[in-house]
Amino acid sequence: MVDQSPETLKTTPLEALHLARGGKMVGFAGYRMPVNYPLGVLKEHLHTRTAAGVFDVSHMGQATLAGEDVIAAMESLVPGDLASLTPGQIRYSVLTNDDGGIIDDLMITKVSDGVLYLVVNAACKDRDFAHIGARLAGRAVLTRHEDAALIALQGPKAAAVLARFIPAAESMPFMTSATDKFGDVPVRLSRSGYTGEDGYEISVPNAQVVAVTEKLLSAPEVELIGLGARDSLRLEAGLCLYGSDIDTVTTPIEGALAWVIGKRRREEGGFPGAAKILGHLKDGAPRRRVGVKPLSRAPARAHTEIQNADGKKIGEITSGGFGPSYNGPVAMGYVETAYAKPGTPLQLIVRGQSQPAEVCTLPFVPHRYFKA
């Protein structure tokens, strides 16, 4: 997530489109990316919740993993139940390390019995793909999709807009993926996202992604949305930002991601760090990720100290800011497990002053995923 000097930053195939449409470019995960467009973060956020937004997420890592026993091989790296996936189904999961920490969170699509399609975070992709390639050497072959861009179309109007170009898109179940054609462009379409809204992530060949994006933007419901609103949307939806909310020293149990561990995997283990993670599951973890609702107007940003009612430090905010749809400050962070119950009073130390807050359930804004 480190900003770098402009000359060393990579660009996506949509760079010229961003500049032409007034994107304010910043360094993010080694790429020059638009943080917002002239509409601004607030309106971009609200537009995505009420209509539809298109996001360039081409910086993320896409790859295909192929091998005769690829499902079992990949299960040796993640705690998710992949064996129960049907072709076209997507699973959110985490790559764990031998200490039970999280190397990255990722989307795993079962393309067929011998093929998985992976999408990982931009800042982690080189490390992730090296890790997967090394750990599964001889069992599966990883091929990076450097030839493909990735765009997300998110919001309550996303399905109606995309159906004009790909009729089958509208009836796809949530968390499924399929190949199709956008006009004559071959795409991989996944009904998933990072906003809490219905929507799609569309993998498009680099050479055609400008044309596909322009076509989506020609729909009156669609605006171009930058990384700023992407972050406030995911925060309101209670979704983790890797590197901030979860990292290599956080177990999935601490990260409130116990649900990613399949039932069979809880019994069988067989993933890196299983002893530690299943121990946390059984005996409890020392700390836990929770929603934090500031009760004053002051937003609490990442690294804000969390204290209990008596002024003892019990944790830290990992993501925080202003939620445009929630219309108030929103945050998440880690507290000692004794303080993880919703309603627990907290104090946040913002610029040296104590601000009242409480533990709350996530998400701040209800998910509105597509239900068939």
Binding site: V35, N36, G40, V41, L42, K43, H45, G228, A229, S232, R297, A298, P299, R301, G321, F322, P324, P329, R351
Partner: protein, 125 residues
């Protein structure tokens, strides 16, 4: 007649005799984007030129507003905390942050005038 000066941190100062009104420039509000939180100093607070005086937060990030001159706060703009968007809408008018007395009016000469600030901003882009 009042005189407006500027800092390199993009505060404006309108000098009105022995007091000054302080806000952030239109360039600054544009850079910050949609402002969602403002904290203004209480009357009586001592300010040192270059020291922290107020807080402004957009959806993206929190920023400090620095005291352009040394002195004492006479009044914080009480309307801003409940309507932080005023800073985006009218940064040089209703979006003022605080009024202050001046300890040392000579400090004013260290600030930029309109022409110098316009050039300073032009050189940033």
């Amino acid at each position: 007649m009042s005189e407006v000066r500027y800092t390199k941190d993009h505060e404006w100062v309108r000098i009105e005799g022995a007091t000054a009104v302080v806000g952030i420039t239109d360039f600054a509000q544009g850079q910050l984007g949609d402002i969602v939180f403002v904290e203004v100093p209480a009357a009586g607070k001592d300010l040192t030129a270059g020291g922290e005086a107020a807080v402004v937060e957009s959806v993206k990030a929190a920023s400090e507003v620095y005291a352009p001159l040394s002195g004492k706060v006479v009044e914080g703009n009480a309307a801003l905390p409940d309507a932080p968007e005023t800073v985006n809408q009218d940064p040089h008018g209703k979006g003022w942050f605080f009024k202050m007395t001046l300890n040392n009016p000579a400090e004013v000469s260290g600030l930029m005038d309109q022409a110098a600030y316009d050039k300073f901003v032009a050189d940033l882009s």
